[in-house]
């Protein structure tokens, strides 16, 4: 064949030139952009409605328990017990009101609205997401970097279990759930190490990709990419669309969170000594700071939480610049609670797992760093709280 490269150039050029197109006007682009912006919020509401319709016709195997402190009146028996999607609500959280996102406490998952999803065995919860009408739960059986991952159906029955690392994470719009699975080295068995992506409602295929990594864990999803932390061995931070081979994000050694809304990845280098925020599309380091861990992007991606390596001071920072906006007023000093975990309830509030006077408390943090109780006074927990993980 005479110069196949030139033939290919000519053929592609000719093919492209001969095909006619309708140009997209600016109004359509703006409309598409608006839909992209709104999608994460409207889809969450749509899923809630869809789940409710499904559950009305499905006999319930388990009657969900009511949380007496947060639900003023018993719900009718036809009320669905299917978990509310763990996407962030659109309405601002009422000051002092119950949490507007799901959280786990011991073997119970508290859903917005007051329902409680009872897990059949108390294996601890290290992470969870709403999945296929039930939950996908990473337990606290931590061993050499791995945990157990169990899928519970709407009735609270365990229907599948894997070995995983980290926790399952849902996409920002709540439609897709991702996690990893592998055979633990101590099991004596062999199985491929996989990253899974599946429809959160179970109405689509589950896609997997084999990873050449040891005990990887999912950090989150940015666009179509799943961001993965490499675990033992090669380690590092990787992004994969499950079609092409995973690509390494060279500017990070570890990753802590992603923002799908802003296309950002938070992580660290130099053995966690330097916290960084990176543009996921270009790999550009937007900012970095010595001695902090950057985590927990707000749903709109405008804010993040920076935690000092020494002293544990927490700051709310501007996600793209690192500018400090407020210090969370909890320092671990006398009369102040210690913050164990923070996650965003909506674009203006965080929920905090607080340790104070040897007890766990659930607190709400506003953008000025002020903490108020998120559950009635006197209602304390002994095991701490875990929040659903969303990109």
């Amino acid at each position: 064949m005479s110069d196949p490269e030139q033939l290919l150039r000519d053929a592609l050029q000719d093919r492209a030139e001969r095909t006619s197109y309708d140009a997209t006007p600016l109004a359509d682009v703006e409309s598409g952009a608006y839909r992209l912006r709104r999608r994460r919020r409207t889809v969450g509401a749509a899923l809630t409605a869809a789940a409710a319709v499904v559950v009305v016709v499905v006999p319930l195997a388990v009657v969900a328990a009511q949380d007496p402190e947060t639900v003023p009146a018993p719900a009718p028996t036809t009320t669905p017990s299917v978990p509310t999607p763990t996407t962030t609500p659109t309405t601002p959280a009422p000051s002092g009101g119950p949490p507007q996102i799901a959280y786990a406490e011991g073997d119970r998952i508290h859903e917005p609205g007051g329902r409680v999803f009872q897990l059949p065995r108390d294996l601890g919860v290290s992470g969870f997401v709403a999945y296929r009408g039930g939950y996908l739960v990473a337990d606290a059986r931590y061993f050499e970097g791995s945990v157990g991952l169990t899928r519970y159906d709407a009735g609270g029955r365990a229907v599948a279990s894997w070995t995983s690392a980290g926790r399952p994470v849902s996409s920002a719009d709540g439609l897709v759930t991702t996690w990893t699975s592998f055979a633990p080295p101590e099991s004596g068995t062999t199985a491929p190490t996989l990253v899974h992506v599946a429809s959160s409602t179970g109405d689509g295929p589950e896609v997997t990709q084999e990873l050449d990594l040891i005990q990887p864990s999912v950090v989150g999803m940015v666009g179509v990419d799943v961001v993965i932390e490499g675990g033992f061995g090669a380690g590092g931070v990787w992004a994969t669309d499950l079609v092409s081979a995973p690509r390494r994000i060279e500017v990070l050694d570890r990753a802590t969170d992603v923002s799908d809304a802003q296309g950002l990845i938070a992580g660290s280098v130099d053995q966690d000594a330097i916290g960084r925020v990176v543009d996921a599309a270009t790999g550009e380091v937007l900012w970095e700071r010595q001695g902090v861990t950057v985590s927990a992007f707000s749903p709109d991606g405008r804010y993040a939480v920076a935690t000092a390596s020494q002293g544990g001071r927490r700051e709310i920072v501007e996600a793209r610049t690192g500018e400090v906006l407020a210090e969370v007023k909890a320092s671990g000093e006398e009369h102040f609670p210690t913050l164990l975990e923070l996650t965003w309830e909506d674009d203006g509030h965080l929920l905090g797992d607080l340790a104070f006077n040897c007890c766990a408390h659930l607190g709400r943090v506003d953008l000025d760093g002020n903490i108020t109780p998120a559950r009635p006074r006197g209602e304390i927990g002994g095991t701490g709280f875990v929040f659903a993980a969303t990109s």
Binding site: A16, D28, V243, S244
Partner: protein, 175 residues
Amino acid sequence: MSAKTAARDAEFTAYLDARQPQLLRTAYLLTGDRHQAEDVLQTSLAKLYLAWDKVRDRDSVDAYVRRIMVNENNSLWRRGWKKREFATEVLPDREFRDEYDEGLGAALWDVVQTLPKKARAVVVLRYYEQLTEAETADLLGISVGTVKSQCSRALAALRERVPAELNPGHREEDR
């Protein structure tokens, strides 16, 4: 509308007017389907619009959009979960037929269409967009070696599968 927004939209519109036809062609070659190409490009432009203020280097906008288009094309597997088909009594207004010649170009195009998406993206960026190997590797987030090997395989497939009688050099080579 604020003056800042108006200026931003004017700048974006100028970019659309100047670059959209070329981007549409690239999207078509990536997807192999006109409607999918329009879908991919519309979504890509919407994402670009949202990120317009963040793309500081205006010279790199094309690369940014190409990358979004490649990712969008690869993400069609996700769209199957999001899209639902609805029954309708209204027929589409017209059928779309993709007409093209039946010669060498068609034979080459057939081979391109059978390439895996990743390899196809490499071929389109290298031989249509005429990016360098390094630029292609950077845009796709793969190594230069992978770009070379994907091109090499694609060309081998062309040599193997395009009928010899369609090759303009066929008769001369036979002499």
